[in-house]
């Protein structure tokens, strides 16, 4: 039972990341009608916003301390981050909390990247075939990941969890179980809450603002909205930017859980398409539900008991689910009829 619960919890935070990526992918597909193979790259860029921020904030001054000597008799180098020099303790906190704080960098950065992508390339492909959209965004994804590789190298760059948030929450104890029976790392819990918050925010935005209403109307019936004389172009740009931001912040917060490398985008892309397809092309609630569902499924498939029953299932569960769903229920869990069926 406990093993079951802890696997469930483990699947949830992964599911949160899947849901966030799939959300943006679906938003772009539903409104712009574009199949964006570069969406995974946006997640990856988000991760590297955190890396960049931490790099900037930990630029150091090196001073020699003549009082202390190293074992070789040399004065010890004392490295102090510049921010700590400038802001003292606040600077130290800044360094410690670099991951969550870099969201502040990620939001404008991802917005700019998203808008630039849409204005620069994607908008020319609204009227072209899905195959061509796939191809151009696939090329774009390669370009983005190679640029990142050129700047940050090929090795993963781990990001630390803020020191206050390390360790695990004793969730079992909260519900009256014996201590240490069911624990869950704090950061995973935070990621889960964070993803819930962002998903809620996006849905609220779509539900309660005029802009959101237009976007939802556009997802339901693109032509009519166009005929109503609403400036679709500008809204498309903003939707694309929004999707980029959602993918980006999802990436930022995920960095302590998975050290970012340049091909992370491609890895997550295949996965997020599977999520979108399972959820049903063009359905936002479907994308979210499928994200969590697949995260949990993946988590259960990697249990030793399951693996000994069906060897290798943890490696292929996601693709297996995708294949089965596509063959049995091609519209996914919540998809509408007639989307991309020809």
């Amino acid at each position: 039972m406990n093993a079951f619960l802890s696997q469930l919890l483990n699947g949830l935070d992964k599911g949160g990341a899947y849901a966030l990526i799939a959300l943006g992918l679906t938003l772009v597909f539903g409104t712009l009608g574009v199949v964006n193979f570069a969406h995974g790259a946006l997640f990856m860029l988000g991760c590297f916003c955190a890396v960049t921020f931490r790099y900037l904030i930990t630029l150091e001054t090196v001073t020699l301390d003549p009082e202390k000597l190293s074992p070789w008799g040399q004065p010890v180098e004392v490295r102090t981050p510049l921010v700590q020099n400038w802001f003292g303790d606040f600077g130290a906190v800044l360094v410690d909390y670099s991951v969550p704080i870099s969201i502040l960098l990620a939001i404008p950065a991802m917005l700019v990247i998203g808008i630039a992508m849409e204005r620069g390339i994607v908008k020319h492909f609204y009227k072209r075939s899905h195959a061509e959209q796939i191809l151009v965004t696939f090329g774009l994804a390669i370009v983005l990941q190679e640029i990142v590789k050129a700047f940050f190298g090929a090795n993963p760059i781990p990001q630390p969890i803020p020191s206050d948030l390390r360790g695990a929450a004793d969730i079992g104890a909260w519900f009256g179980m014996a201590p240490h029976l069911l624990t869950y790392p704090w950061w995973r819990l935070i990621y889960l809450l964070f993803s819930g918050l962002v998903i809620g925010g996006v849905f609220a935005f779509l539900q309660f603002t005029t802009f959101g209403m237009v976007v939802r109307a556009g997802m339901a019936d693109r032509e009519t909205v166009g005929l109503m004389g609403i400036d679709i172009d500008r809204r498309f740009t903003i939707v694309f930017g929004l999707a980029a931001v959602v993918a980006g912040v999802a990436g930022v917060m995920y960095t302590p859980l998975l050290a970012p490398n340049y091909h992370l985008g491609m890895d997550f892309l295949v996965l997020s398409f599977v999520v979108v397809v399972v959820g049903g092309m063009g359905s936002l609630p479907g994308a979210v539900a499928a994200g969590f569902l697949l995260g949990i499924l993946q988590s259960f498939a990697s249990m030793t008991e399951v693996k000994s029953l069906i060897p290798g299932i943890d490696q292929v569960i996601i693709y297996l689910v995708a294949v089965v769903i596509l063959l049995v229920r091609p519209r996914g869990l919540m998809g509408r009829r007639g989307i991309m069926e020809n």
Binding site: V35, I121, H124, R128, H130, A131, E132, I134, L135, V136, F138, G139, L140, A141, I142, V143, E146, I147, K149, A150, A154, M266, V270, F273, V274, V277, M281, P311, G312, Q315, V316, Y319, L320, A322, V323, L326, L327, P330, M340, E341, N342
Partner: protein, 380 residues
């Protein structure tokens, strides 16, 4: 059997000459060594096979690398278990990949459009993941499948043909070695045969049916064509050719690894086909050659070479130029590849072959322009 139109025969003749004289005309480009030319031939075969599916039917498969992988593994197993002769290896590679493609195609072709793409991608990724995990006894996981001296090679043992005593045995064709130039000419001949097959498909009623499916599936159905088996046949033929290419990769270098099945490899063959021209006979070949050539050239350039090349510039400018350019070469070659991809899809969706036709049409128009002024009615 050999019934090609005069135009196709001419194309085949030209193609044959071009392929067989590669060692001559590639020499000025510094690419005339057998290892690289083999790659040119093998990837051209792969792209031709992919084009039979994507070019004719419009179904975009993102899982063709899986077929390369299956062909590779089958070939190495044939070397290990049966004989070092490549004929059984190639036949087995094609047959096994064909069966594999039949199964994947049967399921994937139940859906169209992007769903088909994702299904093929999912199947390929499954094969890739399994090759690294559960199937390790067959694939030897990350190390890759290698030959060993003590492999049983039952057929060779039966015939008493024992491999050379020292070192690992080498693949042979009816007893003669296929290393070096022999290997290149082997691949070249198979490339020419594949090109011929592709010409036959393009010109045949079968190919017309495939084009019909791309153009209007509803009309095909109401015209009495059962489109499912047509698609499946195209998928299997395409897969078998990819399997053959995979087999050749393992013949020229007897090992097989799962990294050949990565989905980025599937993306590469899409890129080759697009770059050259989807649905054309020569396009995929040209695309494959260009990409493999540039990959070879660009990835070999390093900072020192750039420094020498730009040494005529003032120091500051030189280091700037070299820093920028170094991002595009060597390790950064994939960046150039990605940019090329984007530019081609944006500006020249028909690929280089279409670009060539446009260019010729413009030339013709320019030379015909003075005449048109005098004749008001263009001859139609």
């Amino acid at each position: 059997m050999f019934s090609l139109s005069r135009k196709d025969l001419l194309a085949l003749a030209i193609f044959t000459v071009v392929v067989l004289t590669m060692p001559v005309w590639l020499a000025p480009f510094g690419a005339a060594y057998p290892g690289l030319m083999q790659k040119f031939a093998i990837y051209a075969i792969f792209a031709i096979g992919f084009n039979i599916l994507f070019g004719l039917t419009g179904y975009l498969s993102f899982g063709h690398a899986a077929f390369i992988g299956v062909g590779s593994y089958t070939t190495v197993w044939s070397f290990k278990l049966l004989t070092m002769d490549i004929l059984p290896a190639m036949v087995l590679a094609v047959v096994v990949t064909g069966v594999f493609a039949l199964v994947i195609g049967y399921f994937s072709l139940r859906r169209t459009g992007i769903y088909f793409s994702i299904l093929t991608l999912a199947f390929a990724q499954m094969s890739y993941s399994l090759a690294y995990s559960v199937l390790t006894p067959i694939t030897n996981g990350e190390t890759g499948l290698l030959l060993a001296r003590d492999d049983p090679r039952y057929l060779d043992a039966l015939l008493g043909a024992q491999a050379n005593v020292a070192g690992l045995p080498q693949p042979t064709l009816l007893g003669s070695s296929v290393a070096g130039y022999a290997g290149f000419y082997l691949c070249a001949v198979i490339l020419i045969l594949t090109f011929f097959l592709s010409q036959k498909v393009f010109a045949s009623p079968f190919g017309m049916a495939l084009r019909g499916i791309k153009s209007n599936q509803t009309r095909m159905n109401y015209t009495g064509f059962n489109t499912k088996p047509y698609m499946l046949a195209a998928f299997v033929i395409s897969g078998m050719i990819a399997g053959l290419a995979g087999g050749l990769l393992s013949i020229t270098d007897p090992l097989a690894g799962a990294e050949r099945m990565r989905w980025t490899e599937s993306g590469n063959v899409v890129l080759m086909t697009i770059l050259g021209g989807v649905g054309t006979l020569f396009g995929p070949v040209i695309g494959a050659w260009l990409i493999k050539y540039f990959e070879n050239i660009f990835s070999a350039i390093n900072t020192n070479m750039l420094n020498t090349a730009f040494s005529f510039l003032p120091d500051g400018v030189q280091s700037f130029v070299v820093t920028v350019l170094s991002k595009f070469v060597g390790e950064g070659w994939h960046l150039t590849l990605g940019l090329m991809f984007v530019l081609i899809v944006v500006f020249l969706p028909g690929g280089l072959v279409e670009g060539f036709h446009r260019f010729m049409a413009r030339l013709k128009r320019r030379s015909a322009a003075p005449e048109r002024v005098s004749s008001v009615q263009p001859a139609e």
